[in-house]
Subunit: 448 residues, 2 copies
């Protein structure tokens, strides 16, 4: 194991990254930016083709984003909803995984520019960089009203929620205690609704059992949206039932009300000031920088406008998929949801396969909407699939089964099922751990 005993030649250096121009024998290289649902599905679809695939992501893990709110509310461990991208793809021998940050794309030279690493050459490029949260022209609100897009976001929200109760437990000033126990969620789409329901459950079932000095009536969970109702993507009767359920759980709903200001100590909703320092922003979607990289036309949310085969107009070998793309169908853009990401990833792999085989292109991408689901607290979910509209416990069972089956990697599936079952039976939250930024043993001799 001494370095000088290592054979100097046995290391496989990655020669492919900038290809010598005249190399005719090499296989085409597909670079996929992003290891989310769309990117991984594309990588899997390319598994058996005569191509070399590089998946680039700034994280080393795939995140099961639809269950992120469970991490934020201490229901699941962060590792239960994430899996190393290398592990997910390790059976596919034509795929390599690279943890790096993309800074730009040069579509003329066909290279992806990386931070702290040499550029990556591509023959085909698949951009699946996802989306972030839209503060609608108020980027300064981001620090005051954090969003929930990454694992770290969720862990910070978890700490924020738990810390609020720890402080409120020993706070004698009534006004400060009310401020500590007021939680405002901006955005009443599925994420906002699921988070609100889960915070309500966490609060009323789990935390209040362990915090003896907190008056349940002082806990206030407010769900705000500028639109006239919650869950605009669901049929109105389902949304109404969800709203009723949320109110039963103790959530105040403020729809049709605009957020006009966010401050250090509160938020202004429809002209009314709410004293709080616990605001979570789930409203609005802003696509990644891909449009800028590619010099492509984007819609208002920054999503890249794509052709029917998901390539961009100027470059037939550059595809944009998932939340990053503005895919028009029946005259309107498809929503940024996991099924669209999965189906577009699969489709693009097929397009590349057919191009390589010299076949004509497949039919334009067509999204098949199998339905939408949203969970509202423990054992209550909405399911909308074609003519089917289900609410309540049956919907919840369908949600649980489907979401857990989706979880990538068998191990995570087992861990998630067990944690979920355990939480359900006991009202415990297994992950109520406040990870402090400054990890320091209790008051040690720092200066010795």
């Amino acid at each position: 194991m001494k370095p000088d005993t290592a054979p100097q030649t046995s290391i496989t250096t990655s020669q492919h990254r900038i290809e010598p121009a005249g190399n005719k024998d090499r296989r085409p290289r597909v670079v996929i930016i992003g290891g989310g649902f769309a990117g991984l599905e594309a990588a899997k679809g390319l598994g058996k083709l005569p191509v070399d695939v590089t998946v680039v992501d700034h994280n080393n893990f795939h995140l099961f984003q639809p269950m992120l709110y469970q991490v934020a509310t201490a229901g699941l461990a962060s590792t239960a909803i994430s899996a190393p991208i290398r592990e997910v793809l390790h059976r596919q021998h034509n795929v390599e995984v690279m943890r790096a940050e993309v800074v730009d794309v040069d579509t003329q030279r066909q290279i992806v520019l990386l931070k702290h690493a040499r550029p990556l050459h591509y023959d085909y490029l698949i951009v699946a960089t996802g989306a972030s949260t839209n503060y609608f022209g108020h980027p300064e609100w981001q620090t005051l009203a954090p969003s929930m897009k990454s694992l770290n976001d969720a862990l910070k929200i978890r700490s924020m929620l738990l810390e609020a109760f720890e402080q409120a437990e020993f706070e004698n000033n009534d006004e400060i205690r009310r401020k500590l126990l007021t939680f405002v969620l901006v955005g009443a789409g599925p994420t906002g609704v699921e988070l609100a329901g889960s915070i309500a459950e966490l609060t009323h079932k789990t935390l209040l059992r362990d915090f003896h000095n907190i008056n349940p009536h002082q806990v206030r969970i407010v769900l705000v949206d500028a639109l006239p109702r919650i869950l605009p993507s669901f049929p109105e009767p389902l949304a109404q039932r969800a709203a009723k359920r949320l109110r039963q759980l103790g959530v105040e709903i403020r729809t049709g009300q605009q957020v006009t200001d966010v401050k250090d100590d509160g938020i202004v909703i429809g002209g009314e000031f709410f004293l709080t320092n616990h605001i979570i922003w789930t409203a609005g979607v802003l696509a990644s920088k891909a449009g800028t990289w590619l010099g492509a036309e984007t819609d208002k949310s920054g999503r890249v406008k794509v052709q029917p085969n998901l390539a961009i107009p100027a470059h037939a070998n550059v595809f944009v998929i998932g939340d990053t793309a503005c895919i028009m169908q029946d005259g309107k853009p498809l929503p940024g949801v996991a099924p669209v990401a999965l189906q577009s990833g699969k489709y693009v792999a097929r397009v590349i396969a057919q191009q390589l085989a010299g076949q004509t292109e497949p039919a334009p991408f067509h999204y098949t909407d199998k339905g939408t689901m949203a969970i509202v607290g423990r054992s209550f979910a909405l399911v909308h699939s074609g003519p089917l509209q289900i609410t309540g416990f049956l919907g919840w069972l369908m949600w649980v089964v489907l979401h857990i089956l989706y979880l990538i990697g068998f191990r995570n599936r087992v861990a998630a099922i067990l944690q979920y079952a355990w939480n359900y039976l006991t009202y415990q939250r297994s992950a109520r751990i406040i990870l402090v930024d400054n990890p320091r043993p209790l008051n040690t001799h720092e200066d010795t």
Copy 2:
């Protein structure tokens, strides 16, 4: 749920914190600083006594420290070895839990001074603040050679290990690649040995399967100690077998060699320079600030010298237990291990019970050494218990059963068993997640 509908009187304000001097009816208050093994065991022992107990910790969770190296090497999720202190104690109605940082103790006025909270009055004080790592007069080495004492420490080490492989995979410069793949562990006690074995397993069994460009011969794991042999607390034959096993796993052992310098790009061991930026420090123990707070006499490691009943000489109502105390037995101090912490916590609860009952004090504290264990990679452990000396698979089975039984809280036990079994069967590491400090969606419009 509107604040103005909340009854103003129903909140139980915590009046006890500074007691009115003349209140004769109140029950004695025991304040326990620290929610580790010692502190929790004391709190449990006081459960049915006519006292009010306050457990103060700067974390909201208890940490099962002996398995911390499993988190650092991606074997277990952080939530599998930790449990909210409130959850552990929530059945004990005379115990309240407070997340706060202690800044000092006033033994004259019998109060504990807290950061950002009012002082806590006590009738009995139990100090169980644990210990940190001793850099032997080189505090500047701490940032270059982090220690592994907290959950955050372990998560940082996990990211460091995984990141090294991510970078080495795409590094063409041979020297830089060797530097990235060199891991130096300072301190060959149980923590250093367990960590070295686990890093070797992680590297050779799990990571090298997923990283195709890394030459296994370039991975170097070095275990250093100034003492002449590893595991000085074990009998020599056992330590020899552990050393042999470590070498089989690919660990270089450098005993009898002093670390004389730690730099940005390497470490000097016995005069030789090792190029690396992956150094982990597990050598040496430094007790918490408790000695300073109490104005008590301490030993060289900062541990408070206690009387046979674990009280400090100047104050019969102040006890120091666990790693914070220097407890003499048979002419030498007891080691800072979990069983000493557990037994001393239990003992102190009994002393207080007997004092309250007006009985004579129990016999001086006597530690019963049931044995020591250390694990060396997968399915190999040392067990030393009285005349019994076991190594190998049988030892490992004993280790697994005992450690998992120790894990506080049924839920964690189940999760840990399953993760452990799954890892064992598959060589997978379930928690290979690099949590970046700067959680940001992939290249989003930061400026819009």
